[in-house]
Every structure is written in structure tokens, then in C-alpha cells.
Amino acid sequence: MSQPQTLIRIAHVSKRYQEGDRERVVLADVEAAFGAGEHIAIVGRSGSGKSTLLNLLAGLDLPSAGEIWIGGDCISRFSDRARTLFRRDHIGFIFQFFNLISTLTVRENVVLTAELSGWKPPAARAQTDRLLDAVGLLDRAQTFPDKLSGGEQQRVAIARALCADPPLILADEPTGNLDADTGAQVMGLLTALARERGKTLIVVTHSSEVSALADRIFRLDHGRLLEVAHRHPA
């Protein structure tokens, strides 16, 4: 079995925050590489810097030192606008609190990312409906988010993350706000869809059930990222 081609390279990344007159180091010289199509779980205690790392990977924030490469692009050197445009085409994001736009219908929430990526409306609409069908919510396409349960909202968020067909999906505690059964269902769906479409999936989680679905598990501890488990493909 050949190694997957590297999609993400984290090179000597550090992140420090100034807190009053003290400096707090959240990430210290983090080094990692994730392959295309790989499923990665990042675990760690609360406040260990998991979400910070995810924000850096998404280009929502910049490292204090080091570089982040996605594909052939060093996104940490990009301007804010270039990172936004890069994110639009290359990254799908799933949040713990779903973060659907309350004023848009389910279909509009999903189509948003495709439209932003410049998809033609008919193609965007077809893609949206395919994904809504895949997450089992096509019949709720015209519903507003506040009428959906937590699990349903997260399924819409999964469809939204996949809609523009980005190679990388980042999920920040995607089951953190759901009960165990619903969480397992949502995670199963996310993993299946990501694998089916060959997406790289990086999940930040506390849950051992969620991390168990990943190919590799990393632990963030005192600012260091350590690989703690590697599941060989069957």
C-alpha cells in the first residue's frame, strides 16, 4: 500500500498569545504532515490548542512562527483576502455549534459555499440537492435552521462543508453539542461522505468514539503535537 500524497504540511508552527504582561504559548514548534484523503483526529485537554491549530489550518488565524502548506500553497504567507479566497475553494468547515445562517433556508445554507466558489447556479443547486439527499434532509430544504434538531442542523453543516467540493474538511468538535447516539450517527455520516468523496478530514474532538474513526490520532499536549495512534487500512 502506497503512502498518500501529502496535502498538508505544518512546519515548525508556534502560536503565542499575549495575556497582560505574560506570553502564553499555545502551540510550540508543531510539525506534522497529513496525506490527501486521510482522516485525522486531534485530541487533547480543554485549552490545549486544538481549535487554535484548526483555525491556523483554515487560515482564520496566522501562526506566530512557522509555515502551513496546503497543496502547493503556503497559506500562512497569504494576505487575509487571499486566505479567504483560498478557504472558499479548498476548505469546508464544520463547527461544534453548527453555525447555520438563521436567515437562510436549509438549501440556501448549503448552496452558499458553492455560490461563493463561483459555481453556476444550476450546478450549485444540483450539488446541494445531492448532498441534502445524502444527509437525509432533502425534504427539509425549504425549512429554516431554527426548525431543525441539533443533529439535523449538524447534517446541514456537513452538507454545507462538502458543497463546494473542497479537498479538505475541518471539523471542530462536530459532536460536542449532540447526544451520544446522534453524535455517532452524524460522525458516521461525515466519515462516510468524506471517504466516499476522497476528502481529507481533520477532526478536533474529545470523544474517543469519534477519534476511533480516524486513520491517525494526534494528541496536543503542552503545545506539542504527538501522533498517538495509527490505524492501518484493512
Binding site: L60, D80, F97, N99, I101, L116, S117
Partner: protein, 838 residues
């Protein structure tokens, strides 16, 4: 309060909006109070302790009446008065009220010659011995650097008189000092000389019991009246009541707009703290306690705003006092205000209005706060859902309020207060339609903008989705802009009407009159001047006018304008007339009168067949009314009659002004110069038709300066409202904007989305304000003005106003988006953090 301090911008805006509203109310109140009080003080100074007054016609009464009263009837509690107005040339052409008295009869009436408000003894010697001797207030003298022995020029009508200051009236305190402002005291003989009233008196003051007064009245000749002294000041108060009420109502509008803002801010603060309230409930805090807490916070901020507003109001008051005094002097009577009254009543009113508005606006959000379920937080979407459910009920309540307001206006026709109340209620009714109309308009906008992409649809949806915020901001802006439209259209219509009326009235080419000492007072020029004008080469014809104030047994003081008419007036000048203008004038020459529209409205005269009874020198006489004419020179109204008829009933050979018609082919400017040369040495103003027309419009614009300023204050308050609402909205949406940013929306797109949202809000407010402003203008024109002043104003649509209003609304809304977006730009980290927190 800790929560309020945590959001200094929103709290600051709330305080500023209360402060602005209160400041305007206080400033107007101060101006009204100061002018009224100054007038009351000067009236008191002039009337003194007199209980009754005997008055005659325009030329006063014969002094033998006084002699007979005192000598034959032995009525000692009486004092003769000769009074009039003149322009004190060296005192900055200030209008002065000259009162001639008999110091020996004065003691029981006025205090000028006693020890408290005293003139020194050496001054009194000069008072009796020196020709033209006058006493003036020590304060005025100090202000103008006048010394004892200084000669001052007094222009009375077209005549120039010389006065000599022989002493000063000292006042023991500031209040009585103010009463003496603009007052000159002289002896009877000097006053008779000043006002060309040899052998005549303006009035006789009496201190009499009701029965004694009745007995005296019974013995008076029929051309004299005996009336309570208080009648004069009451009439004056009534004259300005409508003007002052209108100003007060407009100032309250600014506060009304401010109230929306307070509602918005308090709601925002409550919604943001629902979780806190929920936790407090779970710890045992009752709903009533939370209700009280929110009200208390609002009241404290309201009090802070009111306190700031009071200070600002006093500063603003200095300008408004000048504007109000100027208008009162232009339109009603002479009043000198050199100091500003800040009464306790004004202070209490300002604070009560500020706190009251804050409490009123906080009731609904405070009630909302009590419904926070313990521990659990109500989702924002659920709140909006509830608001959406309320929309039809609000619209229905709006219909009821609009109907109620209209009914109030329609059925209580005599009260201007009821008309304003109806206007306010109706306006609040329209405000309740705002959510429903916004939902409808945004549906249309979503369809239209949706074609341009998701951003357009999103913008329209956001406006509807956050209706609890957006509707209030739209309503505040809509009210302010519709007030601007309403007032602008009203002023434009009024100005057009007055301009048109001036065109119809000012037919002559040249107008000659003494400098106007003050409105509502007779001015006199020498009758011989009319003949001198007629003799000027190039003058084809002259019209002579005599303007006087006469008593009418049932109506009080009435302005009479007696004219010789050289040219028939346009039929359009008459609101009601039985025949053609020629026939009407024939009737007038035959002894009928024409009354102006405000006169007919105030005294409820029928369109035809009415009559007016006036006290002539031959006793009361009833004049039939031949026509009712439009007139915008006096809101109290005028009785117009032929000069020949006037002189038949009044022994008054004087004239007030002359209008000259230039011969065909003559050069108007050259004739005007020739008239000026012919009148050299007389104190008169010679003005061409255009100059007089322009001067009239200058007075008009001055009259509406405050109203015009007030509408801008309302817009400023509304602008602050929209800024705060937009800020609240955007701050609440920080997380949503973070999601959009994470999904790949660039900052430019976020800007576009936000500007589109606020632009839609502004456009909605602008669109709604057009019909509302138009309706407001209609009510102001056809109801408020008619009932307040009795004028028919012809509607001038002023189309540019609507586009301006739309542009103003959209611009205000767009500008309001700038601060929150700038904040967002500088807070990308907060945005990112917001994605992770609920």
C-alpha cells in the same frame, strides 16, 4: 448598570438620544416661558394695580373724560395714561414702549415713583421741567452707555421726536428690572406731544370694585369701553398660545423619535442578557424583580440623559429665545427678552420627560426579560418567531390607532391640542404597521435582489429575520424622515401660498410707510405725505391705508385696515364673496366690510351673511360682511373697510401707509427715487414692490426657522437610532459574519452584504416616510394650521422632497453601517472566537 458600562457606545447613544430630545423640549419651553414672562412682567409694569381700564377708539379718548371722572364724579382712584411705541434710534433702533403718566395720580397704581422702584428726586425735577424728559431703566442705560442729560431720538410713525434722559428707574431686584426693559416713562404732556395726541389719553386706569366699575361704565359715552385690566394680558396670552403650542408639539416629536431609540437599546440589552436573567430566575429572583431591575437601569440612564439634556437645552435656549422673540415681535407684539428664565417647572418637565420616555420605552423589553425561562436561554430565532407572530396583531392595533387619531382630529375640531394628540396617535399607529410592511417589502426585495445572487437574498432575509431590531430602527428613521417631509411640504406649501397671495395683494409699484415699530400696533404717518406722493411726476395713483386696533364689544381688540382702493383685486383673493371683486368693493364703499379668513375662522363667521360689531366713535356699529378674503399677514385676522367708511365712524384723519402706482411708461426706479426725494425729512421707508415682497418672505422664513431646525434635530436623533440599531444588529451577528468569513466570504463581500442590509432598511424607511410625510403634511396644512392660525394653505407637493427623503434615509442607514463594519474589520480574532462560543 455594570452591563450598561460594558457597552459604552450603546449606552452613550441612549443617553445622547434622551439628552437631545430633552434639550429641544427644554430649549423651546425656555423660549416660550421667557417670552411669556417678559411680556407678563412688562404688562404688569404698565398695568400696575389697576383693576379696570377705560378705553376709546384708535385715537384714544378725550382727556375731559378723566377730568369729569375725577372732578365731577369725584372718583380719585383713577390715573390717566398716554402710551405708544417708538423706535429709539441711538439704542440700536430698539422698539420702546413709552408711557406718559401723571405722577400725582400714580401712587396707588404703579411703583415708579416710590422708594423700591424709584427714580431719584433730582430726576423728578427734570421730569416736570424739561421738554421731552424721559426716565428709562438703569440696566438699559448701562447697556447702551446712556447718561443723564443725553438726548435720544425717538421715531414715532413718520415723525422724529427728541427725548432727554433725566434719570433712571432703579429696580430693587432682577425681576422688576426686567419689567422695565424697553420702557420709557414720561409725563402726560410729553407723551401727548410724542404721539400727537394733544388733549387725548390712551386710557384711564381705575382701581374699582365691580359695582363701582359698573356704575362708572353706565355713565360713559357710547364710544368708550370699561374693561377689566386683566383682559389685555389674557388676550395677548391667547394670541401667542397657538404659536407656542406648535413649537412645543414639534419639540416633543424629537423626544418621540428618541423614545424608539431607547426602546431599541433596552431591548438589545435585555436580549443579550436573557441567559443571565434565566440564571437569576433559577436562583430565586422573581419576574417582578427583573422587571424592576430593567426599568431602574433605564430610568437611571434616562435621568443621566435628562440631566445632560437640561444643560444642552439651556445652551440651545439662548438661540431659541432669540428666534422665538423675533417671531413674536414680527407677528404679534413687542417683547424685549434680555435674560433667559430657567424655571423649576422647565427643569422638572425636562427630567420627567427624559425619565418618562426612558421608562415608557423600557416597559416592553422589561416585560420580555421577565419571561426568560430559568437557566435555559431563549434562542434568538424563537424571539424573532414570536415577533413575527405579533406582526398581524401590531398591524391591526396600528389600524385602530390610525382610526382613533383620525377620529380625534375629525370630531374634536376646536382643540389644537386634540389635533396634535390625534396626529401623534396616528403616527404611532403607522409605526405599528412598519413590521408588516417591512416583511412585505423585503419579500419583494428578496425576489428582486435574489437574481443578483445569494447576498441580495440574504440581506433581505436578515432585515426580516431580525425584525425585533430592524423594525424599530426603520420606524425611528421613518418617523424622523416623514416629519422632515411633512414639515418641509407644509413650509413649502405655506411659502408658495404666501408668495402667490403677495402677488395678488401687492399690486402697487411703490410702498411707503413709517418704519414698523412692532407688529399689531398702529403706526401713523402724516396725511399730507399722501398728497406729496400723489404729486410726484410718474405716480399715476395712490392707495392710502389706515391700520388701527379698535375694540369690538364681543370680540375684544380687532385690527382694522381701512383703505382707498385704486385697483380692483383679483377674484382669487376671496375665499367667499357674493359677487365679483367690483361688486364686493361697491358693497364695501357702501358700508360693508371684508374680513380675512383667520378672523372668520376665529370668530366662527358664516361664509355669507355674517356681520361684525365694532365700537366706533359713535358707539357700537354693526358692519355686514361682504366677503371673506385670504390673508396671511395676521393670524388674528383683520377687518378690511373703505377709508371713507372708516372716517365716517371714527374721527381719525391719520394714515398708516401709502401705495403708489407708477404711470405706464414711467421708469419705476426713477419714480421711486423721486418719491424718496419728495419725502425727505420724514421718517418713512420707501420700498419697491419686489423689496416689500422679499421683506415679507424674510419674515416668513424667520418665522419657520425654529420649525425647520427642529426637523433636523429629529433626523439627528433618528440617525443615532439607526446607528445604534445597526450596531446592535451587527454585534449580534458577529458569529454569523464569522461563519460567512470562514465559508470564504471576503471582507468586501461582507461590507457589501452589510451595506445592502442597512441600505434596504433605509430604503424601507424612506419609502414608508413618503406617504406618511405626505399625510403628516396634509394634517399640518389642513388641520393644525387652519385650527391654530386660521389660514388656508394650498398644497404644494414639492416633489424634490421625496427623493431627498429617500436619499437621506438610505444615506443615514448606510453611514450607520460603517462603525460596526469597521469594528468587525478590527476584530477578526473576536470573530474567530465567536465561532466557538454560544
Amino acid at each position: 448598570m455594570r452591563d450598561a458600562l460594558r457597552r459604552p457606545w450603546l449606552t452613550g447613544l441612549l443617553v445622547v438620544s434622551v439628552a437631545l430630545g430633552v434639550a429641544v423640549v427644554v430649549a423651546i419651553d425656555m423660549a416660550n416661558e421667557s417670552a411669556s414672562r417678559a411680556f407678563a412682567l412688562s404688562t404688569e409694569a404698565v398695568v400696575g394695580k389697576a383693576t379696570h381700564q377705560i378705553r376709546g377708539g384708535p385715537n384714544g379718548l378725550d382727556e375731559t373724560v378723566y377730568r369729569d371722572l375725577r372732578v365731577i364724579d369725584g372718583y380719585r382712584a383713577s390715573a390717566p395714561v398716554v402710551e405708544g411705541y417708538g423706535i429709539a434710534v441711538e439704542l440700536g433702533r430698539q422698539t420702546v414702549h413709552v408711557i406718559g403718566v401723571d405722577p400725582f395720580a400714580e401712587a396707588p397704581f404703579r411703583t415708579y415713583f416710590n422708594s423700591t422702584t424709584s427714580a431719584p428726586l433730582d430726576a423728578l425735577t427734570g421730569f416736570f421741567t424739561q421738554p421731552g424728559a424721559v426716565l428709562m431703566s438703569a440696566d438699559s442705560a448701562a447697556r447702551f452707555g446712556v447718561k443723564v442729560g443725553d438726548a435720544l431720538t425717538l421715531d414715532v410713525g413718520s415723525q422724529r421726536r427728541q427725548a432727554v434722559v433725566v434719570g433712571f428707574l432703579q429696580s430693587p431686584n432682577e425681576v422688576s428690572g426686567r419689567a422695565l426693559e424697553g420702557l420709557w416713562l414720561t409725563d402726560i404732556a410729553t407723551a401727548q406731544e410724542f404721539f400727537a395726541m394733544a388733549g387725548r389719553l390712551s386710557r384711564i386706569d381705575l382701581i374699582a370694585t365691580a359695582s363701582a366699575a359698573e356704575a362708572i361704565a353706565a355713565r360713559l359715552p357710547p364710544n368708550l369701553t370699561l374693561a377689566p385690566a386683566s383682559e389685555q394680558s389674557n388676550t395677548v396670552a391667547q394670541i401667542t398660545a397657538a404659536f407656542q403650542l406648535n413649537l412645543t408639539a414639534f419639540s416633543l416629536l424629537a423626544l418621540l423619535v428618541g423614545t424608539f431609540l431607547i426602546y431599541n437599546t433596552v431591548t438589545f440589552s435585555v436580549v443579550q442578557r436573557r441567559q443571565v436573567f434565566g440564571i437569576m430566575r433559577s436562583l430565586g429572583v422573581t419576574g417582578a424583580q427583573i422587571f424592576g431591575l430593567v426599568l431602574m437601569e433605564s430610568a437611571l440612564l434616562g435621568a443621566l440623559g435628562a440631566a445632560l439634556g437640561l444643560g444642552l437645552g439651556v445652551l440651545l435656549g439662548r438661540t431659541t429665545v432669540q428666534l422665538v422673540t423675533q417671531t413674536i415681535n414680527d407677528l404679534y407684539f413687542n417683547v424685549t427678552v434680555n435674560s433667559i428664565d430657567v424655571t423649576w417647572l422647565t427643569v422638572i418637565k425636562g427630567i420627567a420627560l427624559g425619565i418618562g420616555a426612558a421608562l415608557l420605552a423600557a416597559v416592553a423589553p422589561a416585560a420580555e426579560a421577565t419571561t426568560a425561562p430559568a437557566v435555559a436561554t431563549l434562542q434568538r430565532s424563537s424571539l424573532e418567531e414570536r415577533v413575527r407572530q405579533l406582526v398581524p396583531r401590531l398591524a391591526l392595533a396600528g389600524v385602530l390607532l390610525v382610526a382613533g387619531g383620525a377620529a380625534l382630529i375629525a370630531f374634536i375640531q376646536t382643540s389644537v391640542v386634540a389635533s396634535f394628540a390625534g396626529l401623534f396617535i396616528g403616527l404611532i399607529g403607522v409605526v405599528l404597521w412598519v413590521p408588516a410592511i417591512t416583511v412585505g417589502l423585503m419579500r419583494l426585495a428578496a425576489v428582486g435582489l435574489g437574481r443578483a445572487g445569494l447576498t441580495g437574498r440574504m440581506a433581505a432575509r436578515t432585515v426580516t429575520g431580525a425584525l425585533s431590531r430592524t423594525a424599530v430602527a426603520i420606524a425611528a428613521l421613518m418617523v424622523a424622515v416623514s416629519v422632515t417631509i411633512g414639515v418641509t411640504v407644509m413650509i413649502a406649501s405655506f411659502r408658495t401660498t404666501v408668495g402667490h397671495w403677495l402677488d395678488q395683494t401687492l399690486l402697487a409699484d411703490i410702498y411707503i410707510s413709517p418704519p414698523q415699530a412692532t407688529a399689531n400696533r398702529s403706526v401713523t404717518m402724516e396725511p399730507a405725505l399722501a398728497e406729496r406722493i400723489r404729486a410726484v411726476p410718474g405716480v399715476a395713483e395712490v392707495e392710502v391705508y389706515r391700520n388701527v386696533v379698535v375694540d369690538a364689544p364681543a370680540l375684544g381688540a380687532v385690527r382694522v385696515s381701512a383703505v382707498t382702493v385704486a385697483h380692483a383685486r383679483d377674484a382669487g383673493l376671496y375665499r367667499y364673496a357674493a359677487g365679483t371683486p367690483g361688486e364686493t368693493w361697491q358693497a364695501v364703499e357702501g358700508g360693508a366690510v371684508v374680513v380675512t379668513e383667520p378672523f372668520a375662522n376665529h370668530h366662527h363667521l358664516p361664509p355669507s351673511g355674517g356681520a361684525v360689531t365694532l365700537l366706533t366713535d359713535q358707539g357700537p356699529h354693526t358692519f355686514p360682511v361682504a366677503a371673506i378674503s385670504y390673508d396671511y399677514s395676521s393670524d388674528q385676522g383683520i377687518v378690511l373697510m373703505s377709508l371713507n367708511v372708516y372716517r365716517r365712524y371714527w374721527n381719525d384723519p391719520e394714515i398708516s401707509s401709502v401705495a403708489a402706482f407708477v404711470s405706464a411708461g414711467a421708469n419705476r426706479e426713477m419714480v421711486e427715487d423721486a418719491v424718496r426725494a419728495a419725502l425727505a425729512g420724514s421718517v418713512v421707508v420707501v420700498r419697491g414692490n419686489k423689496a416689500l415682497r422679499d421683506a415679507a418672505l424674510v419674515v416668513f422664513d424667520r418665522t419657520f426657522a425654529i420649525t425647520a431646525a427642529l426637523r433636523w434635530v429629529a433626523v439627528i436623533v433618528a440617525f443615532i437610532g439607526v446607528v445604534s440599531a445597526t450596531m446592535a444588529l451587527q454585534l449580534e451577528r458577529t458569529r454569523e459574519l464569522g461563519v460567512l468569513s470562514a465559508a470564504g466570504m471576503t471582507l468586501a463581500q461582507l461590507w457589501r452584504l452589510t451595506l445592502l442590509e442597512t441600505g434596504l432598511m433605509g430604503a424601507t424607511a424612506g419609502l414608508l416616510s413618503m406617504p406618511t410625510g405626505l399625510a403628516l403634511a396634509a394634517v399640518l396644512i389642513y388641520v393644525i394650521n387652519l385650527r391654530s392660525f386660521g389660514w388656508t394653505i394650498f398644497f404644494a407637493p414639492a416633489p424634490e422632497v421625496y427623493l431627498e427623503a429617500l436619499a437621506l434615509s438610505v444615506a443615514a442607514a448606510l453611514l450607520a453601517a460603517v462603525y460596526p463594519m469597521r469594528r468587525l474589520m478590527h476584530a477578526s480574532r473576536e470573530t474567530t472566537a465567536a465561532l466557538r462560543s454560544e
